[in-house]
Symmetry: D2
Subunit: 343 residues, 4 copies
C-alpha cells in the first residue's frame, strides 16, 4: 500500500520483456540501431506529425535538455511556481541552459493561465533584462490536474504571440491522454507545443523518457547537448525498447487508465470521510486530500505510504497510484482511514 509516488513501483512486464527481447546479438551503439529507428517512426505515427525523438533515462534530463534547446543563457522560462522544473530538479534547467532564469508564476491547481504569463512578459530587446524565451507547462500537473486542449491551445497562441517556445513536461502525459480521451496530437503540436518530455518511467518503464520535438529545427543541437550532458546511452536499444513497448498496442494508455481509475476510487473514498477535503480535483493519478490528523495517523499505522504535502506538519496528503496499484490496496487504505474516524 505504497502511494508515495508512481516511482516506487517497478517495471511493467511487457516492458521488462521488451528489454530482454532487445538483448539479442550486437547492435550499433549510441542510437544508430534498428529499435531506435522503429521508435522514431512509431512516435511520428502516434503524434501524426514529423518528429525528432531523443530517448533519455530521466525526466529531469528530458526537461532540462529540452529547455536548454529553447532558451539562451540570458533567456526567461515561464513556468508554474509548483512545477517540477522549478521545485524538484535542483536547478537542472538552469544548469543545462547556462543560467537561464525560470520565472515562477502562480495559478490555481498548478495550472498557468495565458493572462498570467502575458502579464509577466518582459519587454524584449532591453539588455538589462533576461529575454522571454520559453513557456513550460506540466501535463498532468504537479497537482494531478489536467489542461484541456483548448487551455493548451490558448497558452500556445499566447506563446506564439510573445515569441515563446512551448515546452510540455509530460512525465505523466499518458495519464493525461488516457483521462481526457484526446489524441496525443491534440494535446501537443496542434495546441502549439514545440517540445514534449514524454515520460514513461512513472508509468511502467524502468527508466525511459523521450524528448519529442514537433519543430525539428529546434532540435538541431540536441544531440550534442545530450552527449555533453552524459545522457547518450551507448546501448541505446535498451532505452528505445522500453519506449517502443510502452507505445505499442496502447500499453501506455492501458497502464495510465488503470492508475487514473484507482486514483479516482481512492479520491472518492477519502473525500467522503468526515473532515476530508480535496485540495485539488483528482483528474489523473494523484490525490491531494486534506484529512484530519487522526485519519492520517490511521493510514500510517496501516502501513499506507503517502507524502505530507507541504512539509512534515501538513495535513494535506499526496497519494499517487500507479500502473500496477491493486484495487484491494486502495480499498484497504480508505477503510483504514475510515475505521479510525468512526472510533
Amino acid at each position: 500500500m505504497n502511494f508515495r509516488s508512481d516511482n516506487v513501483v517497478g517495471v511493467a512486464p511487457e516492458i521488462l520483456a521488451a528489454i530482454a527481447a532487445a538483448n539479442e546479438g550486437t547492435a550499433p551503439s549510441y542510437g544508430d540501431d534498428a529499435v531506435t529507428r522503429r521508435l522514431e517512426r512509431r512516435v511520428a505515427e502516434l503524434f501524426e506529425h514529423e518528429v525528432a525523438v531523443f530517448p533519455v533515462a530521466t525526466g529531469t534530463a528530458a526537461n532540462a535538455l529540452a529547455l536548454a534547446s529553447l532558451a539562451p543563457a540570458w533567456g526567461a522560462i515561464y513556468c508554474h511556481e509548483a512545477s517540477h522544473v522549478q521545485t524538484d530538479e535542483c536547478g537542472a534547467p538552469e544548469f543545462f541552459a547556462g543560467g537561464a532564469k525560470l520565472l515562477a508564476l502562480a495559478g490555481a491547481d498548478a495550472k498557468l493561465a495565458p493572462a498570467t504569463v502575458a502579464a509577466a512578459m518582459i519587454e524584449r530587446g532591453i539588455v538589462h533584462h533576461v529575454q522571454p524565451a520559453a513557456l513550460s507547462i506540466s501535463q498532468a500537473t504537479e497537482a494531478g490536474t489536467l489542461y484541456r486542449p483548448a487551455e493548451i491551445a490558448a497558452l500556445g497562441a499566447m506563446a506564439r504571440r510573445h515569441g515563446l517556445a512551448f515546452h510540455m513536461d509530460g512525465a505523466r502525459f499518458a495519464n493525461a491522454v488516457a483521462a481526457l480521451g484526446c489524441s496525443p496530437a491534440e494535446l501537443t503540436w496542434r495546441a502549439g507545443v514545440d517540445v514534449l518530455s514524454l515520460g514513461a518511467t512513472k508509468n511502467g518503464a524502468l527508466a525511459a523518457e523521450a524528448v519529442v520535438f514537433f519543430t525539428p529545427a529546434k532540435a538541431a543541437d540536441f544531440a550534442f547537448r545530450r552527449k555533453r550532458g552524459g545522457h547518450l546511452f551507448s546501448k541505446m536499444r535498451f532505452l528505445s525498447a522500453q519506449l517502443e513497448a510502452y507505445l505499442a498496442d496502447g500499453l501506455w494508455l492501458r497502464l495510465a487508465a488503470h492508475a487514473n481509475r484507482l486514483a479516482a476510487r481512492l479520491s472518492v473514498g477519502l473525500a467522503a470521510l468526515p473532515g476530508a477535503r480535496l485540495r485539488h480535483p483528482t483528474e489523473a493519478n494523484e490525490v491531494f486530500v486534506e484529512l484530519p490528523e487522526a485519519a492520517i495517523t490511521a493510514l500510517a499505522a496501516a502501513g499506507v505510504g503517502f507524502y505530507r504535502w507541504g512539509g512534515a506538519a501538513s495535513t494535506c496528503l499526496r497519494l499517487v497510484t500507479a500502473f500496477d496499484t491493486r484495487e484491494a490496496d486502495v480499498d484497504a487504505a480508505i477503510a483504514a482511514a475510515a475505521r479510525i474516524k468512526i472510533s
Copy 2:
C-alpha cells in the same frame, strides 16, 4: 563478428536476471532502497576501504561528475591527449566543471608519466592561470594498455605532491583487474586514487557505472551534482541491481577475463599476418593493429566490424572484444584477414 566496440554487445544474462529480480514490489525511490545499500557495502568490501558510491548510467556522466567534484571552474585537469574525457565526451567534463580546463598531455601507449605531468604543472596562486586541480587517467587506457600498480602509485605520489586530486576512468577497470591480477585496492586508493569511475556497461551491464569515492569528504556535493545533472534515477534499484550482480561472485572479473583472453588471441593472430604490426601492446580487451589495406578489405568483406583508428584513411584498426565474444568469431576474423593475404 562485430568488434567495433564493447558497447555493441548486449547484457550478461546474470545482470539481466538481476534486473528482473529487482522488479519485486515497491521500493523507496532515488537510491534509498535496499539494493543500493547492499551495493554500497559490497563495494566497500571489494575495495577494502570506506567508500561513497553513486550509481549512474553512463561513463560520461561518471567521469564528468567525478571531475566536477575535484576541480573548481578555474581548475586545470591533467589528462592524456587520447583520453576519453578529452576526446570523446563532447566537452562533458568542461560542462559539468563549469568550464574547467583539460590539459592534454602526450605519453606512449596512452599512458601518462609522472614527469610529464609534473613538467606541465602550472604555478599555483597566480590569478592569470587556471589552478592545478586534478589528474585523470584511464585504466585500461584508450590504447588498451594498462598501468601497473607501481606506475599508478608514482602518479599518485606526484599528484599528492602537487596538490592534485586523482581520478581514474575505469570504464574498463574490470579488464585491468582481471589482466593484472591485482586487488582493486592496489590499483586505486592504495596508489593514491581519490575517485574511480567504475564501469560496468562495457563489460555486460545494460547501463550502469558507479562513481566510487575513496575520499568520501570529496563527495560532499556529489548528490546535488548528480541530481542537477539529471543523473539521479528514480527507480535506482535497477541501476544498483546491475552493479550488485556485476560485482557478485566475481562475475565482473570472469566477464572481463573472457574478453581479455579473446583479445589476446585476436591480437596474436592478426599480428602474425605479413605486414601487420601492433600499434600498442594488447593488454586488456582492445587490439590496435596496423594491417595492409588488402587485409582490411578482406576483414570488411567477411563482415568483421572494426574501426579505422585515426580516420577513414587509417590502416590502423581497433578491434574490441567483449564479455560474450565467441572464440570462433575471433578465429574466423583472423582467417579472413589471412586468407586474402595469401592470395
Copy 3:
C-alpha cells in the same frame, strides 16, 4: 534636468583629479600597486573591521561575483522581486554562480522582511531542491527606501539561523549611510552582512565599485572568479584611485547627502501637486511619484528626464538625483509640473 538615473551624470571633480594624479610613473599591474594597498587599509579603517577588498568596474560585476562566492551552483539566493540582481542584470548572478537560482520574494517598498524569507526557506539536504545559500538585499533599495540597522540585524540573525550568507547590494550605500547617519559598520558586519557591493559609480565615480568581504574566508576564490570574469584591471591603480578619493575626507557622504537632500526637495515639491501620490517614501536619492498624466506631459515638455516606472503606460515616475544635481533644476522641474496643473 535629467533625472533619469544617477548614472547619466559624470564624474566628481575630486575623483577625476585622483585619476589624473594616479597617472604618475609605472606601477605594478593587476592590483599589486600602492594605491590599491592604501585603499584596502582605508576600507578596513572606515568599516572598523578586517576586510578583503576587490575593486571592479560595474555594479553588476560586483553583485554577480559576490553572489557566486556565496552560493554553489545548486544554491538558492533569496532576494526581493524588485531587486537589481533579479530584474536588471540580465541573469548575471545566475551566470557567475553557475546556474544558481534566485528566489524572488515580495515585500513593501522593495524591502524584505525576515519572516518572508524564513517562510520561503527550502528544507536542507533534500537532493531534489536547490539548497539555501545566500540572502541578498539592496541598501538603498530599488524603491529608494532604506533598511534601518535593526532591520538589517534582524535579517542577519535570520540568515545566520538558516545558514545563509548575507550579501548587501550597496550600489547606493553612500546614500543610505548619509541618510541614516549610521556608521558603515552598523549597516553591515555588525548586522551580520558578510559581503558588501560598495558602489561608487552612481555617486560620482567614473566606473568603480568595491566588493568588500567582512568574512575574508569567503573571499578565498574571489581573485580567480574576478580574473576569469574579465574583471581584473591591468591598470588597477586607476580603479583604486577612484575609490580612494571617494572614501577620503568624507567625499562619498557629502556627495550622497547632496543627492539625498535634493531628492527630498523634489519629492516634497512633486507630492504636493494636486493628484500626486508618493509610491514609496523618499529616503535616499530616488523619488517614485504617481502624477496625473498632464503633469507628466508638462515635465516632459519642459525637458525633464525621468522614467515611467513599470512601463510606457505607467503614471508612476522615477526621478533620481545625483551628486551634482542643481537645486535650480529641481525647482524648475517642480514648477514645470505645477504650472501645467494650474492651467
Copy 4:
C-alpha cells in the same frame, strides 16, 4: 626602467584629456550616448567596413566575450598553445563560452600555420567530439612577432574552408599595424577575420578595448552577453571617449610606433651582448632575449624591470616597451647589462 609589461605604464595625456572632456553634462547611459555613436562611425571608417563595435574595459573580457559569440558550448576553439586566451585568462573563454574547449596548438614564434590547424581539425557531426567552431590568433603574438597579411589570409581561407569563425586577439593590434604599415582592413576582414579584440589599454588607454565585429550578424547576442558578464558600463561615454581619442589623428599608431622603435633599439642592444640570443625576432614592442645570468643580475641590480620567461629559473627575459618608454631608459638598460658583462 620598468619593462615588465606595457600595462605597468599609465595613460597617454591625449586619452586622459578625452576622459576629462567627456565629463560634461549628462549623457544617456549604457552606450546610448553621442561619443559611443561617433566611435562606431570612426571604427567603421578606419576599417573601411561595416562594423558592430562594443567597448569593454579589459582584454580578457573582449576575448572571452568574442569567442563566446563564435563558439557553442560544445565548440572547439583552435588557438596557439602560448596564446593569452589559453594561458593567461584563468579560463575566461571557457567560462563565457559555457565550457567550450580550447585546442592549443604548437607553432614557431607563437604563430599558427594553416596546416597545423587543418591537421588538428575534428571531424564534424560526430556527437562524441566537440565541434570545430573558431580560430583565434594574436596579432601581435605573445612572442612579440607578427603575422603578415598573406599569413592571416591563408589562415582565413583555411578557417572558411573548415567552417571556423576567425577571431583576432588584437591586444597589441596597433603595434602590428604600425610595424607592418598595412591598413587595418588588410590585417582583418580582408584576410577573413570576423571579430577583432581591438586593444587600447596596453598602448595608452586607461582601460578600454573594443570588440569589433566585421560580420555584424555574429554580434546578434553580444549585447546580452556583455551585460550578463557585467561588462556593460553605465557611464559608457568614458570608455568610448578613450577609444575615440585613441583612434583620432593617428594617435594609436604614433604611440605604438614609439614602443616598437624602442623595442627594436632594446633588442639590438641586448642581442649584441656576448652570450645573448634572441628567442624570437623583435617585430613589435616585446623583446625575448636569452642572456647570461650575470647580465640578468646586472639588469636587476640596475633596477630594470623584466620577466624571466618560463619561470624563475629561466634565463630568457621578456622586456616590453610602451608608448611612453624613454630612449634613455632603454640605453641605460643596455648599458647596465653590457657593463657587467665586460667586468
